[in-house]
């Protein structure tokens, strides 16, 4: 046994932990890329991404936008003739790129997920308006105006969340989270 594992083995291990079949089963048929609704927006299709991993091209994988463009629809997983959980691979790569702090800074996905996680730690439930400010200007002034008009519309229809709902046992909830990942400091 070599005492140093390559990138390919590292990613295979990630998938092993997620009960997926080994990436070694991939025969590069491209079914995952053909069914993926987000593939046109990826720099590497799911099939190509797996090939990059198999070729041990770690820098290219970590610079890719592919897994952060995955919407978790699991069509690839359902259709893979070799039983590879491709969507789970995408999750694994998202986590990997966050752990290593190595993702393309122009991507919105990593920041959104981090912000979402912190929001839930505060109240126990999601409060959509607290996520919005970071994104309203991302799609230009016109995009911002569209969002503002939609917000007003929702307000009139009584569908706009007005205040964050805090769960009753939030203190217990936060201590519970802290036992898994001590991210909250002493609470």
């Amino acid at each position: 046994m070599p005492n140093r594992i390559d990138f390919r083995q590292e990613i295979i291990n990630l998938l092993h932990a997620a009960n997926g079949k080994s990436l070694r089963n991939c025969m590069q048929c491209g079914t995952c890329s053909a069914v993926c609704p987000a593939a046109p927006f990826m720099d590497y299709s799911p099939r190509a991404l797996i090939e990059l991993i198999a070729s041990d091209l770690k820098p290219a994988v970590l610079a890719s936008n592919a897994y952060w463009t995955c919407a978790s629809c699991y069509l690839c997983t359902a259709r893979c003739p070799r039983g590879i959980n491709v969507a789970e691979l995408m999750y694994g790569l998202k986590r990997y790129s966050i752990w290593r702090n190595r993702y393309r800074r122009s991507l919105l996905g990593p920041g959104f997920s981090k912000r979402f996680v912190k929001m839930i730690l505060r109240t126990g439930r999601s409060f959509e308006p607290s996520l919005a400010p970071a994104y309203v200007l991302r799609y230009g002034v016109r995009g911002f105006l569209n969002e503002a008009l939609m917000a007003l519309r929702l307000l009139r229809l009584g569908r706009m969340p007005m205040r964050p709902h805090r769960i009753k046992r939030i203190a217990n909830f936060r201590r519970m989270v802290n036992r898994i990942v001590p991210i909250l400091g002493a609470t």
Partner: protein, 297 residues
Amino acid sequence: MKTYSYFPGCSLESLAESYHISALATARALGVELEVLDDWNCCGATAYFHIDELLAHTLCARNLAMAENTGHDLVAPCSGCFKNLYFTNAELKKDPDLAEHLNFALQEDNLTFQGTIAVRHLIDVFVNDVGLEEIKKRVTHPLKGLRVVPYYGCQLLRPRKDHEDLEQVTFFEDLLSAMGATPRMFPLKMHCCGASLIVTNRPAALMMLRNLLQCASAALAQVIATVCPLCQINLEFYQQQVNREFGTSFAMPVLYFTQLLGLALGIPPGQLGIGKEVIPATPVLSCIREEAVPTHS
């Protein structure tokens, strides 16, 4: 009357409140008791699984343990919540080490996961526990002539929960037929609405939505029926933006299956949250029984 523990999920508190009230109203009309789970927390959505799997499972485990204390199976109306709760339940049942680890955290809230209940989606409860025959019997206002496409979306079905068929699924069509509506062929019925890409990759999500709306239009649908708040919100709130982006002119109402079912059961529209749509559904709903079913397929 069969009783379930009910997990509304964050969206149903405001953006998808119509789903919440129509779910409770139709359940009552069908003799199903949905008891809202006390002090439930967010299921973690996809974001928690992007950051830390163990933490994501912990959030779900708290809800599961509280539901176990009620002694009833846990029902979720949101496909995302359903998928997360379902798989955490399944993982914890088959991995005692993982359960032990999470139970150590759950002690902080005086809870223990024991693996005594099942996790279900609301449409599954209606179709399989209440049953289509029973529903048909209770329909007093059949949605005659209303052309509906059943939008299953992704996570209700995928990834596969057990050994069920993922490709030739028809229970949603069958439910629409039981309501007296006309389900239309919808080839993209199990394709993605873009989910959170609507925030993190707007162009990709808009294209997926365009494809779905195009397909529903081509199917001559008057309404898209959904089983998930995220699908409903993406398809409805961003339809205008799709029109601007692609030069289309879609004006397709998007309702929850529980709103249509409620109408068929004779529940007044106001008690089903009808009237709170961004794209009003009332015009197409008012021509029920007046408009004939198109003869071509």
